[in-house]
Amino acid sequence: MNDNCNAIWKQLQQHSMQPPEGIFDKVWQHILQQQLHPKNSAEWNNDIPTESEINERSIFSKLQQYSIAPPGLQWSSNGAEKKESPKKRKFFYLDQFGKAAAVLLLAGGIAFFWMTVPRKKKNNPGSQITTTTKVSPTIVPSSPIVIGANDTPLANNQIQLKIDQKNIAKQQDQEKKKAVLPMINNSVAAYENDFLLTLINYEDEELQQFSTKIINKKKIMISQYSYINLSDKMAQMVQDLCSVKPNGKPTKKAKKTKRKFERWKKMDEKYFDRGPQKNPADIIDLSDFIMKK
């Protein structure tokens, strides 16, 4: 290739283009946050723990609650303990048995973990690489679908999760549901590929988690060329949907919003699902539907 051509290509190194407004401020804010809260840097990198790690933690975190009285301690010297936790009394009197029970429970927990959680990671103890395989949430009633970061057919991207959890204690079940709906590199798990249905069908902490993610990001990436920008009004509605009373139950506003979403879903299906004659990708059809409702 002649020198002239080389020079032409090399000149592109000097080509300059104004970046979008506000990037510096955004970056600087992030840098400040990193300096103040180093742990939060995981958020930027979407360093979300995998489902197996989450399940691991949910089991092992219970060990925080186990207590074994140190040898020689008189429980009656601490009146508060006597009042708060009658169980500890048993530990004191059944010292040896308590230890054995703790070991058995620990062994049981490990066995449960090995039996129920699928091993997806390679056998690499030193690795800290987060798997990039898509993880789908444990959601009842139907198995969910992770929308992958490409426009490939649904079938290839579905991962069916076992929802056979009848044998699992309620507390463990609830804790498992806490850590679902991860976002992996901007891919979002949604119920039946349908975000509105996801908002309608999820409850409690699943809903909180999903909603927080989409409200914070304000943009749901389906793929490189398909995404949803959450409008301010919709973000507000999602927040309303998630509002809870001090007792943890949904507020009237939340219930009203849910009913509204359910009503809209039915209206949409009634209008567009009768046949291919009406297609929301067609601007006239969409306009007719929206403007007349």
């Binding site: 190194q13 970046p19 840098i31 970061a149």
Partner: protein
Amino acid sequence: MVIQDEEKAFRKIYDLLSGKMYSLCLRYTGNTHDANDVFQEALIKLYSNLNKYRGIGSFEGWARRIFINSCLDYLKERQKLLYTEQLENKNIEVSELSGMEKLNQADLLKIISQLPTGYRLIVNLYLVEGFSHREISEMLGISEGTSKSQLSRARSILQDNISRINE
């Protein structure tokens, strides 16, 4: 006070380099959305590594390397989730591109952006940045032979696009 000074200093660096580096990000990613993402990530890496600049070579060149690596990491990560490349069947091997003198920079950037990701990377690394095939093979984790063949195929697509523009 210290943070304000740091911000001012980093802003000066930003004002100096942002135009070229953003253009670089666009060249590598081929679209504004990805370019915006990787540009921000690379800026953060640049800031984090400022203390590692030893003064060897120009600062711009050193920063450029950080941005290039960020683009490559970003694209590698995306490639796992995005589509796989389909190599075109091109039997003609073009060793030298003709008609380039008639193109302006905007045209050049356009034809680069039209290339599939793999070819675009090779063209940017070899033709624009001036890395050798050996260096490219190390950066992309491919063989030197693959780097050369990819470049050859990229050239034939580039030639088609150049001819189209010049018509």
